[in-house]
Amino acid sequence: MIQDTVLVVTLVLMGAIVAAFLFVAINAKNDGGEYAPIQGRAYAIRSKLFWVLVVAGVLITTVTTLDLPYAATRGEMAGVDKQIDINGKQWYWEIADTSAKVGETVVFNVSAGDVTHGLGVYDQDMRIIGQTQAMPGYANSLKLTFDKPGNYKLMCMEYCGVAHHAMVSDFTVTE
């Protein structure tokens, strides 16, 4: 699950920053004498850090933009088994079909009838597997492949008024 990777990377990087600040805070009260040599060393570290971040940034950008979630919205429907229209309204989902079969690739064509909503698809463990905005006047197409059978939930991800949190519908994936 991508959330795991995200959490680990975040904690590692945050930990590195914690370590750097703690290191400096602990040593701060010692007087290191002349500033110039300290600054010189810091600048050397900084330029290394800069290049490490540049290289990492370029690599990560390249890898993560190879497969964007936008293809279906641009009309690419190859390999799609089923399209389902979903319309968000205050405060319920109008869903053309609330089921799919395991292994099917489904495209949800998502729009809204009044205000902006957001369609989040949650799996049996209540974790998001994909989402898109539901905006009046626009149709966003969310493509998902359902690998596991079970009860999924379609939940509202964009604040849409006082019953926003009650906009939850079921979606069933059968064998």
Partner: protein
């Protein structure tokens, strides 16, 4: 660093005005934190908050926190900037008057008019209150924002005028002759460079915000005047992103000015510094599409640019400013007291909060993290542990409360900072578990995540209350220079 060694006293009634900005902000922060605490307690099932009240509180907390941060940030900028350029005291007061009138309208719109459309007033929600609020409540809220915007616009126009009349142009205020040319004139001080960046982005942002507010206001009363939802969303997030970010870019001037006093080391305005601020000027404005990564209909190039700008936007902060703070403090023999401690903490909070923000700027990550608690997780980190710590550090400084801190101050420092980190981390963990943001009522399995969060929120609010009391009771010692 300064172009003059002796600093002129504050002109006219500006000292009083600055203290009014800071005093009001201290009180409002504590009050708004209590509102935040109520929301977290509601989500923890410790408090039976009806959904309509929850969303009204959420709207007040969001608008209040963003607005007061703008006010407090501008006070820090004004305080240091007037050391170098000739600012107009009357405009400083006028901005406060606009601000307070706007606040009255906003509070009326929310708590009398029932408006609960969120501080981001995502169109067309303001005109769809479904009986909870009507056009008048929404119009009060939006009109209040507009008034506040007018005040800030005046303030930044005055800043622009003052910088141009001293340095000749805004390009010179950003130090472009030194950055791009081979001018060996001394570049402008850090405060001027930062203020130039801020006025450029904020004037642009506020104008965009004003345009969209007017569009929505007209539509409220004349629904046949049609407005496009995606266009307004672009304008709203452009304005909102720029405005909240500019608060930190103003407050950080306190770090540039005060840490060198403590460490007896200069914060040098060199090419790297100037380059970072010029880059930030562009990136802060170009990065806003990362709020629209889940609007699949947006042009792909804009969304990919949103990801790239999110990555590069972290550079000037991490690699230049946070690193600069570490360098200037390292083995400096600094004396830790409230101003230096809070300012150092604030650089930590800013840097560490950038991490989850940048990661969420990745389209693939946003697909599972957008509008989850991950988002308030990252921004509470750099607002509570970053921005607000910076502001309270400045408040301790300006009221002469340096030197050995008292027991209460120390206590407040630790509960505030640990509580702030804890509160933000619990938000992040909720995001990891896909808990959506802005849900008045949580699913049973999520309630356990909100309970420790509510405790941390209480710690933060308590710490801030002590900071605020210490500031308000020390006003008579405030510096006049």
């Amino acid at each position: 660093m300064n172009d003059s060694t002796a600093i002129a006293p504050m002109p006219g009634s500006s000292k009083l005005a600055i203290l009014a900005y800071l005093g009001i902000s201290a009180l409002v922060y504590v009050l708004m934190m209590v509102l935040g605490l109520l929301m977290r307690m509601g989500q923890a099932n410790w408090l039976g908050l009806p959904a309509d009240l929850f969303y009204q509180i959420m709207t007040a907390h969001g608008a209040g926190m963003v607005g007061i941060s703008g006010l407090a940030g501008s006070a820090v900028m004004w305080y240091f900037l007037r050391r170098y350029v000739d600012l107009t005291v009357g405009i400083l007061w006028a901005n406060l008057a606009f601000f307070l009138s706007g606040v009255v309208l906003i509070l009326g719109g929310i708590f009398l008019g029932g408006y609960a459309g969120g501080w981001t007033f995502l169109f067309p929600l303001p005109s769809h209150g479904m009986g909870l609020w009507g056009p008048v409540g929404a119009a009060c809220f939006l009109g209040g924002l507009l008034l506040i915007g007018v005040g800030f616009l005046l303030l930044y126009l005055d800043v622009a005028r003052a910088i141009i009349s001293k340095y000749g142009s805004l390009a010179r205020g950003l130090g472009w002759p030194q950055l791009f040319g081979n001018s060996d004139e001394t570049p402008p001080p850090a405060a001027v460079v930062a203020a130039t960046m801020v006025l450029l982005v904020n004037i642009t942002g506020i104008v965009a915000g004003a345009v969209v507010l007017v569009l929505i206001l007209v539509n409220l009363f004349m629904p046949e005047f049609e407005v496009d939802a995606l266009l307004t969303k672009n304008l709203i997030y452009f304005f909102g992103h720029v405005f909240i970010n500019a608060t930190i870019y103003q407050a950080v001037i306190a770090v540039y000015e005060i840490l060198p006093e403590y460490t007896k080391r200069p914060w040098k305005v060199n090419k790297v510094f100037l380059g970072a601020w010029t880059a930030s000027t562009i990136m802060v404005m170009a990065v806003y599409p990362h709020h629209l990564l889940m609007d699949f209909v947006m042009p792909t190039w804009a969304l990919v640019l949103g990801q790239i700008m999110s990555y590069t936007g972290g550079f000037p902060i991490l690699v230049v400013t946070a690193f600069g703070a570490l360098t200037i403090v390292h083995r400096s023999g600094i004396q830790w007291d409230m101003p230096s401690g809070l300012l150092f903490l604030s650089m930590f909070g800013w840097a560490v909060g950038v991490v989850p923000a940048v990661i969420d700027g990745t389209i693939a990550v946003n697909n599972v993290m957008h509008n989850t608690m991950w988002v308030p997780g990252h921004f509470h980190m750099y607002l509570i542990v970053g921005l607000v710590a910076m502001l309270f550090g400045f408040k301790y400084y300006i009221t002469g409360q340096d030197g050995k801190p008292g027991m209460f101050d120390k206590l407040a420092f630790w509960i505030y900072s640990l509580g702030g980190v804890g509160l933000s981390v619990t938000f992040l963990i909720s995001g990891y578990f896909s808990v959506p943001r802005r849900w008045a009522q949580h699913m049973p399995e999520w309630v356990g995540l909100s309970q420790p969060a509510a405790l941390m929120g209480a710690a933060v609010a308590l710490g801030a209350a002590i900071f605020a009391i210490r500031f308000l009771t020390s006003l008579k010692h405030a510096r006049a220079v």
